[in-house]
Amino acid sequence: MKPVFLCIGFLLSVYCTPISAVTLHVEKGHSIYSIQQAVNMAKNGDTILVAPGNYKEKNITINKPIVLLGNNYPVIDGEHTYQLISVRADGVIIKGFKLIHSGTSSLIDIAGIKVYDVKNITIENNILEDTFFGIYLQGATHCTIKNNRLTAYAKTDQQSANGIHCWKCDSLSIIGNTVTGHRDGIYFEFVTNSLIWKNRSIKNSRYGLHFMFSHNDAYIANIFQNNSAGVSVMFTHGVSMLNNVFEDNWGDGCYGIFLKEITDSHISGNTFLRNTTAIFFEGATRILVEKNTFIKNGWAVKIQANSIQNTIKNNNFLANSFDIATNGSLVENTFNKNYWDKYEGYDLNKDGVGDVPYHPVSMFSMIVAENPTAMILFRSFMATLFDKTEKILPSLTPENLVDKLPLMKPLRL
C-alpha cells in the first residue's frame, strides 16, 4: 500500500502547489505594512494586494514572478529621490498603482517602473505622476504596457525624461496609454516586432514618438498632439504607420512625421491636421503613402531630393498653405491619383480624373525654400502672379514632380 499512498501524496502535492499560492494583504498599521516586506515574504506566483494609503518604499525590487495589485490606487512615493519599482523577474504583473515623485538624475536612468532583461511582464492601469522616466524597459521581451496614464511636469529638457522608454526589446505591446509632459512620449530604440496601439501622446517637450533602429514595428490609431517636435522615425525599415492622428505640431524643425533614413515602410489612413510640416522625407526609400488626409498644414509634404522610389497616391490634400515642397530638381518619386484642392484643371471625359497634369510645387514655395523670410510676402498679389506665370512657363519648379492623374473629387476616407 505504501507506494500507492506515496503516489497519491505526490499527486496531491503536485496538484496543490498552484492552489497554495496565497494572497498577501499589505495595509498601513497591519502586520504587513510595507510592500517590500510582502515581496520578500511572497513565493513564486503569490499575489500581493495593497490597500489604499501612502507608501514610501525606497525602490521596491521584485525578483520573483508575483502579481502586485493595488486596491483603489495606493500611492507609492519616491520622495524625489528614489526609483519606485524595479522588476527583475519574469512574469510579473503590476496593476492599479499611483506612482509619484521619482528621483531625477543625469547619471542614472531613474524610472517609475523599470524592467531589467526579463520577459512576460504586464504593467496595466497605473497612474504615474511627476516621474523622471515613466515606464522603462531594457532588454525585455513579450511585455504588455496597457492603459497607464503618465504625466510629468518638468520645465526644462535636462530635468525631463521619456514617458515609455524601450531599449533593446522585442515583441512589446504598448496599448491605450496616455503620456503628457515628458521629453519623448514613447521612445523606441532597437525594439523589434512590436505594436503601439491607441496611445495618446500629448504636449511632450520633444517628440511624441521617437523611433530609432526599430525594425518591423507597427503603430496604429495613436494620437500625437501638440508635441514640440512631432514624431520622428529614423534609421529603420519595415514600419507600418496606420490610422494615426498627428495634430498641432508647430514650429521650425517640427514635423507631423519626420522620416530619416527609413525604408520599405507604409503610411496609410493617417490624418495630419494643422502641423507646420506634416511629413518630412529625408533619405527615405520605398515608402508607400496612401489614403492619408492632410488638412490645414503649413507644408503637407516636404520631400528632399535624396528620397527615392517613394509612392504618394490616393491622398487628400485640403487647405494646406503649401502642398509639396522640395529642395532640388531631381525627383525620383511618384505622385499619382491624389486629390489636390488647389487643382484648377478640367475633366472632359468625366472619368473622375483631371485631364491636365497637376504640378503641386508652387513657385513661391521654391522662393521660400531659398529665402525663408520671403514668407512675409505669401499670398500677396506678386506671389500670386509668380505662381500663375510659373504654371504657364515652368522654369524653377521641378518639371517631373507631377501628378498625372489628379482626382476631381476628394476621396472618401
Binding site: D252, T373, M375
Partner: protein, 255 residues
C-alpha cells in the same frame, strides 16, 4: 458738418457706381461660398478681392468723386463754413458710403457663411483698407488740379502699394539674404497698409506655415495683443496722416 456728410452720401448713392460696386461685391461674396464647399477656399478668393479690388475701386472712385465735386466744393467754400469742416465731411461721406458698400458686399456673406476668426479679421482688414484708400485718394486729388493727372497718380499709388512695394521687398530680401532681415521686414511692412492687412489675415489663415522658419518672429510680434494693437494703430495712422496732410493743403489751396 453732419448736413454736408448727409448730402455727400445722398449724392454718392444717387450716383449708381457705388450701388454697382456693392452688387458686384455681393455677387462675388455669395458665389464663392456657394460654389465652393470648402469655406477656406472661399475666404482665399475673397482675400484677393480685399487686397486688390477694394483698394483699386476705393482710390479711383474717391479721386474721381473729389474732382467731380469741385464746383460743389467751391459753392460750399463761398458759404460761411470752415474749410476744415468741408474737407472732413467730404472724406467722411465717401468713406462711409464705401464702408457700407463693402460691409454689405463682403461682410454679410462672410458673416453668414464663414463666421470664423479668419473671416472676421478679413472683414476688419477690408473695412480698414477701404478707409485708408479713400484717405490716400484725397491726398492724391488735392495736389493737382488736372483730373487726368490726379487719376494717374491714384492708379500709380495703387500699383505701388499692391505690387511694386512687394517687388522692392523681395529685391531687398534676395540682395541682403545673408543678413537677418526679420525685424527690418516688420518695420518695412508698416510702410504699406496692404501688407499689414495681409499679414494680419495670414496670421489666422496660414498660422501653421507661419509657425515655421521666421514665423516665430512674426508671430511673436503680430500674434500678441501688443502687436495687434500696434498694427491697428499703424493702420489708423495710415487713415489719419493722408487726411491730415490733404487738409493742410486744401486749407491753403487757391481754388
Amino acid at each position: 458738418m453732419i448736413k454736408i456728410i448727409k448730402y455727400v452720401i445722398a449724392d454718392i448713392l444717387r450716383n449708381k457706381i457705388v450701388i454697382a460696386y456693392t452688387a458686384f461685391l455681393l455677387a462675388i461674396g455669395m458665389s464663392v461660398f456657394n460654389l465652393e464647399d470648402n469655406t477656406t477656399k472661399g475666404l482665399l478668393s475673397l482675400l484677393n478681392i480685399v487686397l486688390i479690388v477694394v483698394p483699386l475701386v476705393c482710390i479711383i472712385f474717391s479721386t474721381i468723386y473729389v474732382y467731380n465735386s469741385a464746383e460743389f466744393i467751391e459753392l460750399l467754400v463761398s458759404q460761411p463754413l470752415q474749410r476744415k469742416h468741408i474737407w472732413l465731411s467730404l472724406f467722411s461721406g465717401i468713406a462711409l458710403a464705401l464702408v457700407l458698400a463693402f460691409f454689405i458686399g463682403i461682410g454679410l456673406p462672410v458673416l453668414l457663411y464663414s463666421f470664423t476668426p479668419t473671416g472676421f479679421i478679413l472683414v476688419v482688414v477690408g473695412l480698414l483698407l477701404t478707409v485708408i484708400f479713400v484717405a490716400i485718394a484725397l491726398l492724391a486729388a488735392v495736389n493737382t488740379r488736372d483730373k487726368a493727372k490726379g487719376i494717374g497718380i491714384a492708379v500709380l499709388l495703387w500699383l505701388y502699394f499692391s505690387l511694386l512695394f512687394d517687388g522692392l521687398i523681395l529685391f531687398i530680401l534676395f540682395q541682403f539674404a545673408d543678413y537677418p532681415l526679420e525685424n527690418l521686414m516688420l518695420v518695412l511692412s508698416a510702410l504699406n497698409p496692404v501688407d499689414m492687412g495681409r499679414i494680419l489675415i495670414l496670421l489666422k489663415m496660414d498660422i501653421s506655415a507661419l509657425m515655421g522658419y521666421t514665423g516665430a518672429i512674426f508671430q511673436n510680434f503680430f500674434g500678441t495683443t501688443t502687436g495687434m494693437i500696434a498694427t491697428i494703430l499703424v493702420m489708423m495712422l495710415w487713415m489719419v496722416l493722408p487726411v491730415f496732410f490733404s487738409l493742410r493743403i486744401f486749407k491753403r489751396k487757391d481754388l
